[in-house]
């Protein structure tokens, strides 16, 4: 009797464990997909941002006089 209980518990633990792995890997997958999408989106306008940064920095700070 005790043996059966232990086996059933083990089965339950295994199924919970497998479900956890499945779940966490799907979380990981979705996280990595989001990360990739974000990187791709930011790459697309990376140079536009640089051009805008230059404008902002030249607007905000005056430059040393030319020698």
């Amino acid at each position: 009797m005790a043996n059966i209980v232990v086996k059933e518990r083990a089965k339950k633990t295994e199924s919970v464990f497998l479900a956890y792995i499945e779940d966490s890997s799907s979380i990981k997958r979705s996280k990595s997909t989001i990360a990739t999408k974000n990187v791709d989106a930011s790459k697309k306008d990376m140079f536009d941002k640089k051009a805008a940064q230059m404008e902002a920095m030249l607007d905000k700070f005056s430059r040393p006089a030319r020698k």
């Binding site: 990376m46 140079f47 905000k60 700070f61 005056s62 020698k67």
Partner: protein, 166 residues
């Protein structure tokens, strides 16, 4: 000591016209070169450009990275892992210097795509201050405490750089 450079090839920007980037910016110079090493060969491209809406007709932005054929975009976060950072930076710097020779009133703005890369550029500039052509100067920008632009000095952490002719 002069750092070895890659051989650059001027690029007809028509070759790269599909990207969204070209709709918003004018390209004034484009060169490509190939980084080679243990990780393989990668085509890198340097653009000197300016936003079409810019208020600063003499100032240009410098950007470089790996050309992505599939998306027609430049990936400036790409790492070649060819242990050739110094060689790449020397090549890009030479493109900037050549551009400034042709446009003596111009200034070229450079900022790393990440803070770490900006530090890397700073290190490269510090190591090569002695070989900056006498006709050029390098300014550094410190945003903290609204310090602003000043002539580049070793030992100061800058947020961006500007290369104008003197």
């Amino acid at each position: 000591m002069l750092v070895e450079q890659y051989t650059t090839i001027e690029v007809n920007t028509d070759e790269y016209k599909n990207g969204e980037f070209f709709k918003k910016n004018n390209i004034f110079a484009a060169c490509k070169f190939t980084s080679t090493g243990d990780s393989g060969s990668f085509e890198l491209i340097v653009f000197i450009f300016r936003s079409k809406k810019s208020k600063y007709p003499n100032d240009y932005t410098l950007g470089f990275g790996k050309w992505n054929v599939d998306t027609s975009e430049v990936d400036d976060l790409f790492e070649t892992r060819n242990r050739d950072v110094e060689r790449i930076l020397a090549t890009v710097a030479q493109v900037a210097v050549n551009f400034l020779k042709r446009r003596p009133m111009a200034g070229i703005y450079a900022q790393g795509s990440t803070a770490a890369r900006t530090r890397l550029y700073q290190k490269g500039i510090s190591q090569n201050l002695g070989i900056v052509p006498p006709s050029l100067r390098i300014e550094g920008l410190v945003v903290k405490d609204n310090f602003g632009w000043a002539d580049f000095k070793k030992g100061i952490n800058y947020d961006a750089f500007l290369l104008p002719a003197k």
